[in-house]
Symmetry: C2
Subunit: 326 residues, 2 copies
Amino acid sequence: MAVYTDVSEPQLAEFIGAYDIGELLSYKGIAEGVENSNFLLRTTAGTYILTLYEKRVNRSDLPFFVGLMEHLAERGLSCPLPVHTRGGESLGELSGRPAAIFTFLEGMWTRRPAPQHCRAVGAALAGMHGKAADFPLHRRNGLAVADWRPLFESCGDRVDGIEAGLAAEIGAELDFVEANWPADLPKGVIHADLFPDNVFFLSGELSGLIDFYFACNDLLAYDLAIAVCAWCFEQDGSFNITKGRALIGGYASVRPLSAAELVALPVLCRGAALRFLLTRLYDWLTVPDDSFVTKKDPMEYLGKLRFHRSVKSVSDYGYDDERVTA
Amino acid sequence: MAVYTDVSEPQLAEFIGAYDIGELLSYKGIAEGVENSNFLLRTTAGTYILTLYEKRVNRSDLPFFVGLMEHLAERGLSCPLPVHTRGGESLGELSGRPAAIFTFLEGMWTRRPAPQHCRAVGAALAGMHGKAADFPLHRRNGLAVADWRPLFESCGDRVDGIEAGLAAEIGAELDFVEANWPADLPKGVIHADLFPDNVFFLSGELSGLIDFYFACNDLLAYDLAIAVCAWCFEQDGSFNITKGRALIGGYASVRPLSAAELVALPVLCRGAALRFLLTRLYDWLTVPDDSFVTKKDPMEYLGKLRFHRSVKSVSDYGYDDERVTA
C-alpha cells in the first residue's frame, strides 16, 4: 500500500485547473501500486486516478510509460488512458513530484485466479505485445538477465542466513541461465510485471491491465514466462498444470508461439523466477523494517525456481505442441 | 494509512448482494482511518465506503457508532450514512470482521486550516452536540480523565528516555488535572477526535464530519478543548489566537457556552493535550516499528500542554466574554 507524498487541496485544485475535467470534489490516497503514490480523484466530470511518481521511478522513463499507455489505449487495449491538459501535456508536477492523471478503469483484480482468468490473461498479454509492436520509444530492461548477477552480489554475504546453501544454489542457477539464455527470439515491448493485482476483471471478463511501470523492451516470451510464475502456482507452492495450459494456450491463441520460443520457455521461466527471487531477496536484506515498502517473502520464488528446474519441456506446463513435444 | 484486511471479489459481491446498491464495479483500499480498513466501493448505483472493523474497535461499541451516524444524518448533520441491507441491518460480517457500508461524502480535509475553517468547525461541533442530545445510546469514554494515570503507568519507565524530567512533568500534570477537573458541566455525546482529517470542506464550505469511532459521552466543552488542540496551533508549535477566537466563537454561535464552561476551558485543554500526549507516548514506546500504525510524535502535544498551562483565561485563546474576562 502506498501514499508516500501527500497533496493539499489548494495545490491539487490548481493542478487540476490545467485540465478539462471539471471541479475537484474529493480525493483519497489508495492502497495500490508499490512504486508511486496514487489517489482516486472525483470531480464534477467523473472519476480519475492521480499518480505521483516517487524516487524509485526514473523521471527520464516517464515519457515511455505514459506514452505506452496512450499508444495501447488508442489501439483498443483497456488500460488507464493519460488525460491531457488543455496545453496537450500528459505529465505535470505536483508536490515536487512528476504527476499524471489517468482515466479510471472499472474492475477488480482477482485474489484467486482460476483457469479461465489465466486464459484471458494470456490472450490479453499477447494482445498487448501485438498492439505495442509499432510503439516508437525504447526502454532497456533494467532487470534483464545481465543485471541479475550484480543484483545478487549487492545482496552481500547474508544470503545463506536465509537458507543454508542458498548462495551456491543461486550462483549455479545464474551460471546456467546466463549460459542458456536465448538470444534470437522475437523481441518487443513487454509488461514485465503482469501479476494478478495488475489485471482487472468485471463479471468474469478481463476488463483491463494496469501498472506499466516495469514495461521495457525484451523477449516477448519472457513476459509470458513472468506470467506463468505469477498466475499458475497455488498458495501451497504447487504448479497448476490446468492454469499453465490455459495461460500459454490463451497467449498462443492470439500470438502463435514459435517452436524456438516453446523450447526456450523453461529457461525463460527459470530466469523469471530468479529475477523475482533476487529482487525480493535484495529488499528482504536491505530495506529497513520500518519502511513503507511491504517486503515479500523471497522463498516463494525459490520454490517456483526449483519447479521450473525440474521441467523438461512445455508439456510439463500443460501445453502440448507437436513441434516440440512429439 | 490503513488496509489491514483484504477482501476478495466473490466475498464482497456476496456481501453486497444483501443491499440494494447495484452491482459491484470496483473497490480500492484507501489510506484513511487508523483503526479500521476502509475501501472505496463503486457500484452501478453509486459510490460508497466499506468499513471493516479491526481488533482495536470493540464489537459491542459498533451499534453506538453506527447508530450515532444514522441519528446525526437523519437530523441533517452531513456525515456518512450507514446503508441498510434489504433486511434492515446496518452491520454485517465480511472477511471475518464486522463490516458496514456508508454513503460517500464528497469533500476534502484541509492540510492548512485557516481561521474560517476553524469557525466552521466550531459551529459544526456545536451542531453535532445539539443533534446528538436525544441519541438514546450511551458509551463511556474509554480515554476519560480517570483513564490517563493507568495509561501513563502502562508506558513503563522509559518515558524519561524521550526527554529528561518528562515523567515528573506528566505526573504533576496528572495531579493537577485530576484535582481540578470540572464535574458539573453539561454532558452529552462528543466526537472526541475532531482533527482536521475528520472534517471535509468543499469550495470553502464545511461539507461533513467523519470518523465517529472515538465518540462517547463526556463533557461537551471537553470536545471543544480537543478541537482547540487540533486546529489552533501552527506547524511551529505556536498558538494562533485568531484561530482560537474563530473556533470558540463559531462553537458559541451555535451553542452558547456557560460561564462555568469558559472558566474551565483552560483545564479542559490541558486535559485534552495530556490525553493525546499519553496515547502517542504509549504508541511510541510500545508499538513495534514494523507495525502498520503510523506513530505520531508525542512531543508535539507536550508543547501544546505547556502552552495551555500558561493560559490564564479564555481571553488567552482569543475569546473574550464579559462574564469571565471583565
